[in-house]
């Protein structure tokens, strides 16, 4: 943000210059996922990863409420917060972990964690993450570790 501010001031408010600075910034070119997923993004991507039933809105909305992003329920008129600090709270991580564990136990018998890891993250999953999934004691645990991996928690 400081770099963009400087570009704005240096160029006397030339928006094309600010946009170019934004595109030139190293963060924009970092291939690894950077941003911590909101509950909405996390629930949707998890359900996709586990080949969930897209019409099953009940479990999706229940999960969203449980993870702190209930439908039409922002606590502030500004809407949902957008920074990692707002979402990556200790309680939120634990709640995500429990939700994912339940889901993985339900879906575990039908899915191969290696295959799911390849589909949803591929080379983006860290070597340590892939190893942890591989070492999991059963399918459900492998899925839970995959979905809670730092890479899957971000986009």
């Amino acid at each position: 943000v400081a770099r963009l501010e400087k570009a704005w001031l240096d160029s006397n408010g030339a928006l094309d210059w600010v946009a170019a600075t934004l595109i030139d910034s190293p963060e924009a070119w970092e291939a690894r996922p950077q941003k911590f997923k909101t509950p909405y993004e996390f629930v949707v991507s998890t359900m996709r990863a586990l080949s969930g039933d897209p019409s099953d809105l009940t479990s999706a909305t229940r999960a969203l409420s449980g993870l702190g992003q209930g439908q039409a329920g922002p606590t502030s008129p500004e809407g949902w917060p957008d920074t990692a600090g707002d979402w990556a709270t200790p309680d939120a991580i634990i709640k995500r972990m429990y939700w994912v564990e339940d889901l993985a136990v339900e879906r575990g018998p039908f899915l191969d964690p290696h295959a799911v890891a390849g589909e949803v993250l591929g080379p983006m999953l860290s070597v340590e993450g892939a190893e942890a999934v591989k070492r999991a004691q059963n399918r459900a645990e492998g899925l839970a570790i995959l979905l809670m991996s730092p890479e899957f928690q971000r986009r």
């Binding site: 990692a84 634990i94 730092p150």
Partner: protein, 260 residues
């Protein structure tokens, strides 16, 4: 070996072997009487060469190098099972059972499964077949083979594991929220997050709070069950005769987890 041992072994051999016919299984079961079979599945990697080291194998020391265990009779050495195989010295309790013919180890046994997938290997062990074969476990097939004489079976855990899954009915039960088929995911994640400046502290604080909350809300009194270890299920005579529990994490400080 007492006569009781021999009939029990006949039953186990009949149940586990390839020659499981309804007749032999029923006869063996009838001979055993109202005994209970408890199957514990210890999932997770275990270094079998440290648990049951082949001390008598001439190549053992050379191939095992610095992590080879001491020979039979040496101080801190392996405890002999026979002239070749021994037990890790930490397993003296198990060794005592083995000497009373109450424990049997099956070392150097493999399945045809060669994918190196942890998950598929477990499926093969639980299905008792070379392929996953329509998701029927060998314990369930045993129930079918026993027919009308089949005892009731219960699995401990939130989901019936493959070994007991299939057409024959069985019950399942799990203590509270404890996901017995789920290892300690929080523990794995702590390791996975260790270089993550955002997630590592959040997880650590979350787990800490979680433990405090559990201690604070833990019920006291005789009905309390804090998990698998204190669970009493069918401890009296009327309980199901086949019990199955899955307990995770056989990783001990002396048994290095294997790579797969």
């Amino acid at each position: 070996m007492s006569p009781l041992d021999s009939t029990r072994r006949a039953f186990l051999a009949a149940a586990a072997g390839l020659l499981l016919t309804p007749l032999s299984a029923r006869a063996a079961y009838a001979a055993v009487g109202p005994k209970k079979l408890i199957v514990l599945i210890c999932r997770g990697g275990m270094d079998g060469l440290s648990v049951v080291p082949p001390i008598g194998d001439p190549s053992y020391r050379a191939l095992r190098g610095a992590i080879a265990l001491g020979g039979f009779g040496e101080p801190g050495g392996a405890l002999p099972l026979d002239s070749v195989f021994g037990l890790h010295p930490s397993l003296s309790f198990c060794h005592g059972l083995a000497q009373q013919s109450q424990l049997r180890v099956a070392p150097s046994v493999s399945t045809p499964e060669r994918s190196r997938s942890h998950f598929q290997s477990q499926d093969v062990l639980e299905a008792g077949t070379a392929k996953r074969a329509a998701g029927v476990g060998w314990l369930n097939r045993t129930l079918t083979a026993l027919g009308a004489a089949a005892p009731s079976a219960i699995s401990v855990g939130r989901q019936s594991p493959l070994i007991l899954r299939g057409p024959a009915p069985s019950a399942s039960w799990s203590p509270g929220h404890a996901a017995t088929e789920m290892g300690d995911v929080g523990y794995v994640l702590q390791d996975l997050y260790r270089n993550d400046p955002l997630l590592a502290p959040a997880l650590a604080r979350g787990l800490e709070t979680e433990i405090r909350a559990r201690i604070a809300t833990r019920p006291t009194g005789p009905g309390r069950s804090s998990g698998f270890g204190e669970t009493r299920i069918g401890a009296v005579g009327a309980g199901p005769a086949i019990k199955l529990a899955c307990r995770m994490g056989l990783h001990s400080n002396w048994a290095k987890p294997s790579a797969d």
